[in-house]
Amino acid sequence: MREVHTDEITNVVRDLFMDANCNLGEDVLAAFDHAIEKDESPVAREVMKELKENARIAREENSPICQDTGLAVLFVELGQDVHIIGGNFKDAINDGVRQGYMEGYLRKSACDPFSRKNTGDNTPAIIHLEIVPGDKIKIMAVPKGGGAENMSRVNMLTPAVGIEGVKDFVVNRVKESGSNPCPPTVIGVGIGGTFERSALLAKKALLRKIGDRNPDPEIAKAEEEVLDRINKLGIGPMGYGGNTTSLDIFFEVEPCHIASLPLAVNIQCHASRHKEAII
């Protein structure tokens, strides 16, 4: 057994959220450059330049890329040979979120669903925990903004519609979302599992790097086809028209019930923020 103190978990979580909110990934920045070069619309190219400049300012001044610094979503892979000492694991994570959002001048966006009263410190964090072999803890922090999340959907399809039905649903979802989720977006698609598992797969898909294809060649082909269809919709950056509506799309597929074809589409804005660390 390897011992890990909760203080260390708290510190890592704090730093990850501060880092993720101010430093956009190189893969996303490269995708911005590609759009600046390739989009046919001059307005689209101008918007993409603004986004690049915004990312530069955020990085240099250590200020949030977007004022919506999200709900604090975490994927944690906890090695089964780790013994956590010093306190409660969940509290350690929430303490990290609390500290990161305070010290990083990040907006607190968590509230009661009905009274809309803000919880004040962006907790509770949304923690997805998986026990894995080994004696390490891998923590992935995903600050998730509200605008794109609101455009996301889960649908229980009829198995008969097959992969073509999945493709059509995803393209239509992006089309109907239009300018709302801050295009160019990244699309996470969860296929299979159960109702809630598909949504989790879709969210986890957003952790992949721009350009990563699914290892299954058939699924990879479907990703490319859907991305191509989405970028032919004409929505473009900010919805002002153009060929860059999504930067990438990631399918994650798992077995499902013989009666079902669960499908979840999780939309992520262009501020595709996620950082990870291993303890």
Binding site: S41, V43, L51, S63, P64, N150, L233, A271
Partner: protein, 185 residues
């Protein structure tokens, strides 16, 4: 994007009537912020026949809730939020003489109709460019509903605040026209 235009608030009917979809506008002067919770309170006040904490006549409301300001800065990151959540409240404020709204994302038909009828415009700021947009905000002060935190109504002093005209007073829509132009479906 066609013309580049500078405007100083408060805006007149003539100011907004000359704007067309796709125009790039640089705003100067005072603009107010408000999101869902503040809008709900404004409309509740109107329904009770009470006075609003701000006079919306000729003004622009920016749908925005900033991140906290670092010491020495007037405001934190300050990009637009999605506008449709304010659709239920906007027509009433337009009727009262509000001349502009800044946000991102599609508006309901009722809002577009109200803009046509009472002469107002919907302006788009670049969503997710909060660090960049903050550079054109010189001063910020809370003028109502401080308890709402990021959702409080703020009075902003802006310089060359960049926006794009999405809906003009003639009922045109940049989202519709833009997608039509580049669609290859």
């Amino acid at each position: 994007m066609s013309n580049k235009i500078e405007l100083t608030t408060p805006l007149s009917t003539e100011d907004v009537e000359k704007l067309n979809i796709g125009d790039k506008v640089f705003l100067n002067g005072i603009i107010y912020t408000g999101r869902d919770a503040a809008h709900k309170r404004l409309i509740d006040l109107l329904n009770e026949g009470k006075e609003l904490p701000i006079d919306v006549k000729g003004q622009i409301i920016y749908y925005m809730g900033p991140s906290p300001a670092k010491p020495g800065n007037p405001i934190g990151s300050a990009g637009p939020t999605t506008s449709y959540r304010m659709d239920a409240y906007a027509p009433k404020l337009i009727e009262l003489g509000m001349k502009g709204m800044i946000g991102k994302g599609n508006r309901a038909l009722e809002v577009i109709e109200a803009m046509k009828k009472y002469k107002a415009v919907y302006l788009g700021a670049t969503g997710g460019a909060g660090a960049l947009i903050a550079k054109s905000i010189k001063k910020a002060e809370i003028v109502a509903y401080e308890d709402l935190g990021p959702e409080a109504i703020r009075k902003l002093e802006v310089e060359d605040f960049p926006v794009v005209v999405i809906n003009d007073t003639k009922g045109n829509d940049l989202y519709v026209e833009g997608a039509k132009k580049y669609s290859k479906e």
